[in-house]
């Protein structure tokens, strides 16, 4: 079975402070991990995925297979980062193409 856990429903930080949104997963095979973001009144969109190993809007995430984690990080939060963030997993071995999502973390960046 696939499971994604995002322990924080709400994370509030001040502008300029570092941000870390936690994501842990459970999957017996080889996973592919994603972060999706939903800004206010916008559709869900892909932020980044672990296979790309890229930085998008200053965010990075590293897949740690030993800790089964894929935490999202940004060194200096901006007001426009306020949004709902979802971690998602796709099981590459036997999981088909469906995404399993966490329950999401609402990030609020305060001035």
């Amino acid at each position: 079975a696939q499971r994604v856990t995002q322990p924080e429903k709400l994370l509030s930080v001040f502008k300029g402070a570092p941000v870390e949104l936690k994501c842990n997963y459970s999957y017996s095979g080889s996973p592919e991990l994603f972060w999706y973001v939903q800004y206010s009144r916008q559709r869900l969109q892909l932020l980044l995925r672990h296979i790309s190993r890229e930085s998008i809007k200053g965010f990075t995430a590293d897949l740690n297979k030993g800790e089964t984690s894929f935490h999202l990080k940004k060194p200096f939060a901006q007001e426009e980062d306020s949004a709902m963030y979802y971690c998602a997993l796709r099981g590459v071995t036997g999981g088909g193409n469906k995404l399993t999502f966490g329950t999401g973390t609402q990030l609020k960046v305060e001035l």
Partner: protein
């Protein structure tokens, strides 16, 4: 269109009625997915189409839920004899095809409210 299109954007109906939700994927995308987001829950997978066939329908919560896709394009999700617990946002996503590492692109969703 440029993105995944879903209709209606909002639907309010009485308990026991049937509803149909529509999804127009991005042109050329052969894979199509339905998800459901209930209040306080994450997105829950319902069904996956590759072309017109559904190799994974494991997420459909009951036999009141069904979906079809015709012409490898538009998909319809039907909920029969709706119950209040069916109230949720129903999201559709599409991706280019069988290449597994292509990301899914989401529509705006249909907000379904069962009175």
């Amino acid at each position: 269109g440029a993105g995944v299109s879903q209709s209606p954007s909002n639907k309010v109906t009485e308990k026991g009625k049937d509803v149909e939700l529509r999804c127009d994927p991005i042109s050329g995308h052969t894979a199509l997915y339905w998800y459901r987001q209930s209040l306080g829950q994450g997105l829950e997978f319902l069904i996956y189409f590759q072309g017109n066939s559904a190799p994974d329908k494991s997420g459909l919560p009951s036999d009141r839920f069904s979906a079809e896709r015709t012409g490898g394009s538009v998909s319809t999700l039907t909920i029969q004899r709706t119950q209040q617990e069916d109230s949720a946002v129903y999201l559709c996503a599409s991706s280019p095809g069988q290449v597994s590492n292509q990301p899914q692109h989401f529509g705006d969703g249909t907000r379904l409210s069962i009175l």
